[in-house]
Symmetry: C2
Subunit: 315 residues, 2 copies
């Protein structure tokens, strides 16, 4: 059994969070991950506050284990969602892509553990100063909104800078990723892409099929010009976006418009032409649909085996 300080802090069996995926990680997936011993996370995304409230209540019906909610700080209604979260008190709130300092105190006062996703030392240090119980150092190999630094470079530099537990995200698709994250100083991981193909994940089957078939080189980052880069699979949509991005006759507003709604079209409608199929680089490793429990137990059994023979090259 792998057991780290983040397990004790949150009362979870395995030190793994399921990464929040807008339009995808709902109460059902989050509860399945929590029931399997990890920490499931509901993604609020751009959803209305009452819908987020419904999802939190539903997750409470589906599991008596701790789970989390991710508040998308870039969303226009982030303030309302933040309040709903404070009222309904999931065990954990994660945040990313924006400044959570306006909400942190409210959550902490409500007894919720606030654990932000951080792309840099400065954000990590500031978050800990504002009460973060742990941080998730997320490398740019992850899917969806990404930072610049990779997991290999970000995790050790964050570990040197803060005195709270650090989780590694980005590139964690199997037990090797977990074991590597531990070597870098992390005491837990967050995985998104691998849970995309969980049997309990309600994403469109076309999306799952794409993840299962994808090769290691099949993802691309778009949106750098707009200042909020996103990693997705190289689909017709992504290629078109990238082409427009390097065309300075296309305005930023036109680019934003092109991107709007493209994740929903992929996740809900499975539209192979117009959808943005966000996924991490590690998608190439993901080969089959499994239950959340199978995913977690398989990943940690492998990690344990690897850690067990870690000294094989030390003579």
């Amino acid at each position: 059994m792998i057991h780290t300080p983040i397990c004790d802090l949150l009362g979870i069996q395995y030190p793994i969070f399921q990464g929040a995926m807008a339009w995808i990680s709902d109460a059902k997936l989050a509860a399945a991950v929590s029931n399997a011993g990890g920490l499931g996370v509901i993604a609020a995304g751009g959803a209305p506050a009452d819908l987020v409230a419904d999802q939190i209540k539903r997750a409470k019906d589906l599991t008596d284990k701790p789970f989390g909610v991710n508040v998308m700080l870039m969303s226009p209604n982030a303030g309302e969602v933040a309040k709903v979260v404070a009222e309904l008190k999931p065990a954990v709130v994660t945040t990313g892509a924006g400044n959570a300092s306006a909400f942190a105190k409210m959550w902490i006062d409500a007894g919720i553990d606030w654990i932000p996703v951080v792309p840099s030392i400065a954000v990590a240090v500031k978050s800990v100063r504002n009460g973060a119980r742990a941080v998730i150092a997320e490398g740019g190999e992850s899917g969806g909104h990404v930072g610049e630094l990779t997991t290999m470079c970000l995790v050790p530099q964050i570990c040197d800078a803060v005195n709270v537990p650090v989780l590694a995200a980005g590139g964690i698709g199997d037990g090797r990723g977990i074991a590597a994250a531990f070597m870098l100083g992390a005491v837990g991981v967050q995985a998104g892409t691998r849970f995309l193909v969980a049997r309990e994940c309600g994403v469109h089957q076309n999306y799952k099929n794409k993840i299962i078939k994808t090769k290691e080189i099949d993802s691309v980052v778009t949106g750098k010009r707009l200042g909020h880069p996103v990693r997705s699979l190289k689909t017709p949509f992504a290629r078109k976006f990238l082409q427009y991005e390097y065309d300075s006759s296309i305005t930023n507003e036109q680019l934003e418009e092109l991107g709007a709604g493209s994740l929903r079209v992929a996740a809900v409608e499975g539209d192979n032409e117009n959808g943005s199929f966000m996924a991490g680089q590690i998608a190439g490793l993901v080969k089959k649909e499994q239950s959340a429990l199978e995913i977690i137990t398989e990943m940690f059994a492998e990690a344990e085996k690897i850690l067990h023979r870690a000294e094989q090259w030390v003579k």
Copy 2:
């Protein structure tokens, strides 16, 4: 002592290559790394073949340990350099950024171990088919010419695809990086940025000072539009290049011209304005000038300690 199959294969003490850096890693640095027990690598870069020959001869004078030469396949005179290498027979030849299949047989017939830097499964598999003795899976967090995939994602996927020793490059700045690389399946590492500040490295002192002062977020990739992306520090040159890159009134030829010679200006002249200071994301971890021997022994002592306590979270 850490000892892996790559040590036996090449007759080196520590499983570490010094990454080739054009205009920077010369006979002196390569010999220092080899004398310290790693594998030093002379970068041919765009240098004339007779200059590369001089460097190989000089390295042979400076060390009786194995060393390598990196042939820059994009260079117009790659063919001549490849021939000189086959004649002078360094222990290892590394290659990157291009197709080495025209030269592989010549090197192998000369008894040289050919170990290419690979950015994808397809290139790795093809190289092994063409006789590569090992491959270096290099993540895009590294400095200089970079691929898309990060170390965390590339290394395990390459390990699954080939049956030769795999070295990990990109993000390897200390013992944590080495230990993490081993967990991903690598049996060795290649480090460039950390050796930039080796006392035996003849790069301009301004370059070393920049590496030592740099923060984790201070590097950027330019040249994506041209199809050969390069990671360097965010200097006035890099910012200007990036701005031009998104300006479609600037032609690709103009962009190429802007980049030409910029590494030499940084490495040789230390020009903070016009130089391209190539470096990996891990530069933020590099804090001081040390001898090659100090760098290697410190990195491996740390890796050994970390591997020794790898099972600390297994209960």
